[in-house]
């Protein structure tokens, strides 16, 4: 694992810009939109940015895929450079969490649509305000 400050400068930190822009984009959608589905989409973009952040972190320059090659292992595997598999494995879990969250959120939206007849938050607030 290389530390952040050891990344060669010719590559710059551009992947962080990508990650942060996506993150802010997602967060903005979550905050600014009233449509419940669009907010879930924003949330997904937000989560995807974090996944990219981790995967970029696991990249080692010149590294191969870290598959355990039993037949080519003989002796000289120390010389070979592998990408760091840990962030990838972590993101596998995070993707699962993301899927579960999205499924649950969509299920909630279906139920909301059934009982309110709309998925716009301001309209729902109006309906709720009028009865309470």
């Amino acid at each position: 694992m290389i530390a952040l400050n050891e990344i060669p400068t010719e590559y710059g930190l551009w992947h962080y810009w990508v990650v942060v822009s996506l993150m802010m984009l997602g967060l903005y959608i979550v905050i600014a939109r009233d449509n419940l589905i669009k907010r879930i989409m924003g949330l997904n973009i937000f989560q995807a940015s974090v996944i990219m952040f981790y995967v970029a972190m696991g990249k080692v320059q010149g590294g191969e895929a870290p598959i355990w090659p039993l037949d080519t292992m003989e002796g000289h595997y120390q010389d070979r450079v592998f990408s760091n598999p840990v962030p990838h494995v972590l993101m596998l879990t995070a993707i699962v969490v993301g899927i579960a969250t999205t499924a649950l959120a969509l299920a909630l939206v279906v139920r909301i649509k059934e009982s309110y007849g709309t998925i716009e938050e301001d309209e729902i607030r109006e309906i709720d305000g009028s009865i309470s």
Partner: protein
């Protein structure tokens, strides 16, 4: 106005989906059991496997797929897969090893252990994804 065609009446979809289905399922099993040696594993395999069933369900209707995989059986599989996972871990206590220590299964214990665990994951994920599909696809009937 012409009545819109249902998906099962379109020949291309019907034939292609029937041809593809076994291969998707086979690929799911390949990913499941090859997870020992290469990329793969229970989660991916479960999703691929249930994708075949969901394809069938989309084209031939929810009833057709529910005749084979009844919602009750799918719910049962969800629970059994999780139990298989957690139960495999419990076996380690039998020899006073730590939870999920696969060495309890003998000299090739690591292989057998991960196979069982991934099997549990695969069953749970496949049935959960299918259940999510059932829940969403069956919803319009509830609301009508």
């Amino acid at each position: 106005m012409k009545k819109p065609m249902r998906m099962r009446e379109i020949v291309v979809l019907r034939v292609v989906s029937r041809v593809l289905m076994p291969y998707i399922m086979l690929f799911g099993l390949y990913v499941q059991f090859h997870g020992d040696f290469g990329p793969g594993g229970g989660f991916q395999a479960g999703v691929i496997f249930s994708a075949a069933l969901i394809l069938y369900g989309i084209i031939f209707g929810l009833d057709a797929v529910q005749r084979v995989f009844t919602p009750f059986a799918v719910e049962l599989c969800m629970a059994l897969g999780l139990l298989l996972y957690a139960g495999t871990g419990l076996v380690s206590f039998y020899k006073n090893m730590n939870y999920l220590d696969y060495d309890v299964f003998g000299s090739h214990g690591q292989h057998y252990g991960i196979l069982l665990i991934e099997g549990g994951v695969g069953i749970t994920v496949a049935s959960t994804v299918l259940m999510i599909f059932y829940a969403f696809a069956g919803r319009w009937r509830v609301s009508q």
